[in-house]
Structure formats: C-alpha cells, structure tokens
Assembly symmetry: D2
Homo-oligomer: 281 residues x 4
C-alpha cells in the first residue's frame, strides 16, 4: 500500500449531518497530520479555500473519502480506479451497498485502513463500455434503455462474436458483481458475490419470457446493436453519465482490467450487508 498523505473529500452537499461528519473527518486528518483535499463545495462548507473540482480530487489524493450515498460514490469511482486511489464510502442517511460505513464507524474504519488491515479492502473490477469511439469505465453497470415514449426497443447481442439473441425489451443491464445488487436486482438478476469473475446480463421487461438473466465469464466481450425498428434508446453508465443511442448504434462491453479498492467497515462483511439491506429474516 502506498503511504497515505492526502485524503480527498467528495460529498453529497445536502445530506443530513454532512457538516458534522466533514468536521469529524477534518479533525481526524489534523490529528494524523494528513492533508485534506476537499472538492469545491466541501471546501466552501469547511472554510478551506477554493477546493478542487470533483473530477480532479482522485488524482490529487492517496485515499478518497466519499460522504453521501451510492450515487455520490459512483460519480467518482471510475476516476479513483484509474488513479488507483482506494475509496471509503460513508453513508449519510440509508446504508448503501457501496457507502456501507455508517457515520459512527468512519474513524475506526480509517484507523484500521491506515494501520494496514487489508481484510477490509475489497477489490472491485470495473467494466469498460465503448460507444461512438469513446470509452467509459463503470463500477456498477452499463444500461441500455428505451426512451420514455418508446414502447420497447429491439437489439441484437453477441458474446465473443457469437450472436446469441435478438431481444425486444425495455432494455438491458450489463453489470459487474458489484452492480448485481443495484439496478440488475430490481430487474430480476441474481446476487453475484464480488469474488466471482463474471458479467451479468439482465434484460429489462423482455418480450420473450425465457430470455432470463445470465452470467458470462469476465473475459467475455459483449456487443449490442440497436436494431432499425427501435425509436429512441439511451445508454447510461453507473446511473450517472449517459448519451443517446440511435438505430445501428453499437455498444461494446468488456472488463477493463482496472480495479477499485473499496474500503468497508471492519464490523460488517459482505453477507452482513446483504442481510441488512435486503431484510433477510
């Protein structure tokens, strides 16, 4: 592990107790002689100058703290993965699958991480989506969705250059194991443990009832083409970034080779989290 000198800070500005938790973090950084590198809105709230634009925080930090919800963390996960900066997600409000450290376990989790407890660091692979010459990194999922006014879209799927199906549906979710407990689960996909090297394909409201959720090896490449009868379609990465698709648009999805180091609380393992989030008896 690289020596940690700078803690980046990204926040959900209107989250409950955000001011208090930022101050807890600033105090901790001061005590440990660590430099706090807040994004702009956080810097303003803390009276710490101008701050750094959100998209640069990861590249100027050795550890990234995210205070907010899973959406906040997803907005910087791809940047942190590229910079190989580990991420600690603290949830303000409801327990998240990514921001699973509650406020009152933030300091003990930071302590455990800084003292080298590697058992709380979970490596999470990211997908890479290529479309129209651009490449996007995704921690959770790549989603192709019909437009609100369209009745359904039609697309063809190839896996490793083998055509597997032509599907009429509201859309398709291609997710990592990390994303399997997010949108994919709502669409009927399985829960896939982060240690399984797989991609999950979960159709959204498929017309063919036997076109069921599927997991393929993480070494596979998925290609999807929007067919001519479709009207509007839309591509969304991690529920954060998006762009419109058109007839004959092609999206290619594969493992990126990049991994995010996600820090979890020493008090809660993966199955504890499932248990709590899903209300298992």
């Amino acid at each position: 592990m690289k020596t940690i000198k700078r803690i980046g800070l990204v926040i959900k500005p209107h989250a409950p107790e955000i001011e208090d938790v930022m101050r807890d973090l600033a105090r901790f950084a001061g005590e440990r002689k660590l430099e706090l590198r807040p994004e702009e809105v956080a810097a303003r709230k803390l009276g710490l100058g101008a701050g750094i634009p959100r998209e640069k925080v990861a590249s100027e930090s050795d550890l990234l703290a995210v205070l907010g919800g899973d959406g906040t963390l997803l907005s910087v996960a791809h940047l942190a993965a590229r910079q190989k900066v580990p991420v600690l997600g603290v949830n303000l409000g409801r327990l998240g699958f990514l921001t699973e450290v509650p406020r009152d376990e933030m300091i003990l989790t930071l302590d455990a991480f800084l003292s080298g407890n590697e058992s709380i660091v979970s490596p999470r692979g990211l997908l890479e989506a290529r479309v129209l010459g651009e490449t996007y990194l995704c921690l959770n999922d790549v989603v192709v969705n019909k437009g609100a006014k369209a009745r359904m879209i039609e697309f063809r799927i190839w896996i490793d250059d083998k055509e597997i199906a032509t599907v009429k549906a509201d859309g398709l979710i291609v997710s990592t194991p990390t994303g399997s407990t997010a949108y994919s689960l709502s669409a009927g996909g399985p829960i896939v443990h982060p240690a399984v090297p797989a991609m999950i394909l979960a159709p959204i409201c498929p017309h063919t009832l036997s076109f069921r959720p599927m997991a393929v090896a993480s070494s596979s490449r998925v290609r999807l083409r929007i067919l001519a009868d479709s009207e509007e379609a839309y591509l969304t990465m991690d529920g954060q970034r998006g762009l419109p698709l058109h007839r004959d648009s092609v999206v290619e999805i594969a493992w990126s080779g990049l991994t995010l180091q996600l820090i979890s609380s020493p008090r809660r393992n993966y199955f504890d989290l499932l248990h709590e989030k899903l209300g298992w008896g």
Copy 2:
C-alpha cells in the same frame, strides 16, 4: 346485435399482404351488400376515394375491421368502445393477442359474426385514466414510466383512498385483464382471464423486492402521485398516446364502465391463444 350495414376499415399500411387482404374484405362486403368505410390510407390503396380520417371510422361503422397488429387495433379500440362498435382484428404477420384472427379465417369469422354466433364475441372492459383534467380510455394499460435519463421515479399509490405504498421503481403498469398478456406480463405480472373483474398493478423494476404484482377489484379506484424527488416521468395509454408527468402530477385510474366487443375466430379459444403465443409445450 345491431344490424350491420357498414364495415369500417383500419389498416397497418405496410403490413405484408395488406393489399390482398383488403381486397378479400372488399369482395366479401360487395357480395353481402355491405358498405365498406375505409380510413384514408386504405381508401387510397383500394381506389375508393378519399376515405375517412382514422379517428372517425368507428363512428361511421357498425363493425370495425382492423388489418395489422395489436398496435393498430389499440389505436382505435377506445373509439370503438365509445361507439359500441364491435371490432374484428386480423393479424398480418404474427398472431396477436388482440388481432388473433389469421388472414385465412377472416371470412369465416365474419360469416359467423354476421350470422349471430355470439360465442365468438368477447366483451373486454376498458380503464379510464384521468390526468390534468383529461380522461383517456384504455383497453390494455396505463403506464407510468421514468424518462430514459432518470434512474428511477418515486410515487405513492392509493387504492380507494387508502395509501398503500410509496414505491421507487422504473414505473408502474395498471392493466386490464386484456392487457395482462401485454406489457404487464413482461414486467412479471400474472395472466388474468378477461372474465375476471380486476385491475392489475405491476411495478416495473421495483426497488423494494417484495412489492409484487397485485390484482384489485375492478370497482377499485387507483390513484398515483409522482413525488418530489422524481425527475422526468411519462404517462402512456395503450402504448399509443402519451404525455409528460411532473412532480406532484396525479393520475387516477378506474373502470370506465365501457366494454369493447372483440370478435375472435371460431377456431380458437382464449387458452388456445395463450398456448400458441406463449409456446406452452
């Protein structure tokens, strides 16, 4: 049954064999001394003058023939129901749930209907959706859907003025038994026989996994309000007509009291149709 003197004609213009089937129908009408009342595009193709605008065909007919697919039939179903004009749907292409008469059974079905065979007429109740002061009749379903860019929408549901749940989801389908085999089925809803007096509520990708499809009595009134956190939402009636919804938009759905007389082939009952469409063993 009212005496049938005028056969209205609505078509899907580019359907395979559409010209031939129209001519079969025109010949049949001529032999039986029935007046054919085609919509504009059909009139042009038949060389029968200007024709009638689609939205007026039902009101100027005693029986409405639809040549095309379920979408074509849905575009006029509400008009036919209001005018109490029975509808015969002939599928050109794939068997439909509404257009279930194949081309080569069209004449025998018309003969059976005209000779008073009531066993082939299936009464189908329509829903009424009220939103922003307007009322819409629906044979299949009323759908509230998130916009393509939104991650999900949040809405509250009341049944008969009792609040039943606050739901985060991609949307909600409220369908008739007739619509239970359409979009609702793709979303995980049950198949509901047309003789069951019920409305089906099927959530689309609900965040709460235990919020399952539900059937309530057809005498119930469903009210739905889009909550403040939602971004774009959209309302679609029968997959044909739509309008945008906003925060605090309210949609009210109830049985309309109106019934469409849907004519089916004497060779196929409801369960035969399910069997064939769903590929049951």
Copy 3:
C-alpha cells in the same frame, strides 16, 4: 348477525403467552355473560373440564376465537365456514395474514364485532377440491406437489373442460385470493385482493418458463390429472390435510359457494397488513 352467546376457543398449545391470552378471553367472556367453549387442550389449561374435540368447536359456537398462527386458524376454517361461524384470529408470535389481530387488540376487536361493526368483517370465499369421491373445503389453497424423491411431476390442466396445458413442474398451487399471500406468493404468484372473484393457478418450478401464474374467474372449474410418467405426487389442502395421488388421479377444484366471516382489527386494513407483513417501504 346471529346473537352471539357462545365463544368457541381453539389454540396453538405452545404459543408464547397462550395462558395469559386465554385468561384475558375467559375474563372478557365472563364480563359479557358469554359462554366459553374451549377445545380439549384449552379446557385443560384453563381448568374448565374436558372441553370439546377441535373438530366440534365450530358447531357448538356462535363465534370462534383462534389463538395461535395461521396454521391453527386454517385447521378449523373449513369447519367454521360450513357452520357459518365468524372467526377471530389472534396471533401469538408473528403477525399472520389470517391471525392478524395482535394480543393487545383482541378485546377491542371483540367489542367492535359484538357491537355490530360490520366493517371489520371480511367475507372470504372457500374452494372445494374433489378427489377420489371426497370433497374438501379450503380457505387458502389446494396444492399438488411432487414427492420428495421425485424429480418432477407431469400433469394436464383443464379449465371449464378446455384443455389448457400439459405441465412438467414440482407442482401446482390453486389458491383463493386469501391464499394468494401464502404459498402462492412464494411460488411467484400475484397478490390478489379478497374482493376479486378469482382463483389463482401458480405453478411450482415449471419446466416451461412461459407457464406463468394465472388468475381465472371464480366461476371456473379447474381439473387436473396426474399423467402416467409421474412417480409420487401428493395433494395438500390448506397445508393441513393431505393424501397421496397416483398416476391418472384427477383433482377437481371450484368455488364452494361457502364464505368464512373473518374478523380483523379495527386498527388495520388489508393494505396495512400487506405493508407490514411484506416490509414495503
């Protein structure tokens, strides 16, 4: 409503707090000059003599109190329906769908019922299953299940004498709306409000993925025949009574025309109960 003079009492003997709740009920009966008619095990616990065999309690009561869980209530529901005796289910332990009155609302619910508050009485239709010359009344469901050692069973289904499908599956659940929130829900069936006059057919692990849960009108008759390739099969009524089926065994299921008057708490409507039991939001 008939004048209530005798309160029958059926219990789950080892339920938590059963002694206390019985005594609360006995005290209430004493104050109101009502005769308590306990089943044998309850009589012993109360020191009230020999008691009545469970299967005779309904016929010697004007109101039947069940202290326990849904299983306890199901064991006498068919008898109470036949005798037209209303039933109050008090749950000791977890909230039930049938025993939905908690201990501390028992007296206020009895008061409301005895003072003629009809809004808390919910009429629940029962199914009638005929097999091998015998007839069984069921409040929740009739289940055909494979034996533990069999891989699957094969059966054919008719509705109103129309053959609808030949199914390979672990089994089939035919349920009332009341039973739709019990076993049928676990098998993927819809929630059906008790006011909907329907029967639900939910296949258990069907081989054909498109053989989905279905609701048919309560006036329909369902017939099912075990086919020759099946090994062991078993029929269970309300999860309480059962018998083995064999190749070519036929089961016929229809509405019985009988209705159970189920008493609920004035503090909780049907949707409140769903909300609480299913953990909606």
Copy 4:
C-alpha cells in the same frame, strides 16, 4: 488426450431408435478398430455377451458414449469424471443440455473428437457434497427439498463459515454452471456460462421474498443445516441419488476439483443450444 481404444456404452433402454443408434455406433467402432464396451442391457440388445455393470463402464473405457437423455448421462457423469473419461451424450428424443448431439451428428462428432478437435470438448467442474460421512460428486446440482407432506423446511446457510441466512422455503438448489439451466432455472436462478467459476444457490419458493438466487465463487464452501422445526427433508444429487435428512443434518458443498470432459457437436455452440432449448426469438 489419451489414445482412445475402448468406447463405453450406456443407454436409456426404451428410448426411440435406440437399437438403430447402437448399431450405428457398433459399426463405427468396428470400422475404426475400437473396442465397444457396452453396459449389460446394451450388450443384450446388441447380442454382445454379458456386458459390464453400468457403474463399471467408465472405468473400463477411454471414451464414454451415452445414448438417451440428460438423466442417463447424469447417472454416470460422476463416475466418468473420476476416471477422467470424456463423455459424448447423444439425445434420442428431445435435445438435452448435456445430451446435445443429435443422432445424425453422432458419427461426425466422434470423428472430430478422435481427430483431436479440442474445441468441441467443454470442461465441466463437479461439486462435491458431504453428508453423514459420505461424499457425492455432482455435475448438475445438490438439492435439499421438503418432503411431500411437509409445508416447508427451515435451514441455516453458511458460506466460508460465515452465517448468511436462516431460510424457510421448499428447499435449496446448489448448482454448477452446468446445472444452472436445469432445475435451478425453473426455480428462478440465472443462466451461468460453464466458463464462470461459480456455484449458484437458488432457493425453492422462499418465504422471504428478498432471498434471491445468488452466485458465489467456486472456491467457496457452502454449509447448510436443517433446523429443528423442520419435518421431513430430502437430499438429491443430480436428480439421481438421494437420501433422507433429519433435524440437525448438515450438508457441506464445495468444488471437487474434478472436471468432466463433455463432448459437444461441432455444429452447435453453447449459445446455439440455449437459443434452441429456450425458444429465444
């Protein structure tokens, strides 16, 4: 690849065309100077002496041909895996997921295999179930099931010694990717490509609706204990071998380290097979 000198033969005795296909195989073996080693019933039908007991065929062969259905192949898969003998499954009747070579592709598939075409050999990992001191190898799945008369069973699950849930259900299927398209699919489990190193846990009719199908890494160990309230339970391996379980019975399931070499037709890849078997588009 080991030199192939002996072809073992296992059959489904009453399969259609079984005699003809055996003769095709015998003729092929003769032409290639390969020794045919039929099981007893096959030897009798071919007039080739006494034959070998089914459970010894794999150990006396270099290649095992199975003529029948998936059940026939599953009955010897564990023996072939232990002996490292590749298996060719020829379906007589319906296309199988394991017996996917049709009769008229048998010879060309054997030719391709014998000439060293490795692209048609798919390695399939097997699970190992330990119970009551015995170990069982499974190609498809290990199933814990309630008895026919029991309403449900209750069990606790541990993964890698972490308790993950206490479940009330009809049962649990732990399957390999190979088994993901068998019983697990009927229970709502995902399709998992054979190249994904994972085990799938699919609950059968779980009481807790959010206890959804799950995939864990193939390096995980699953432990399951039947809890005290359960009545009868039953353990089935590959739908072929079974034994009763009791209160407090413990079943442990992990990868065995053994792999079956499954031979497929050069004319059909994995996704072609899914397409055909599941009726996709």
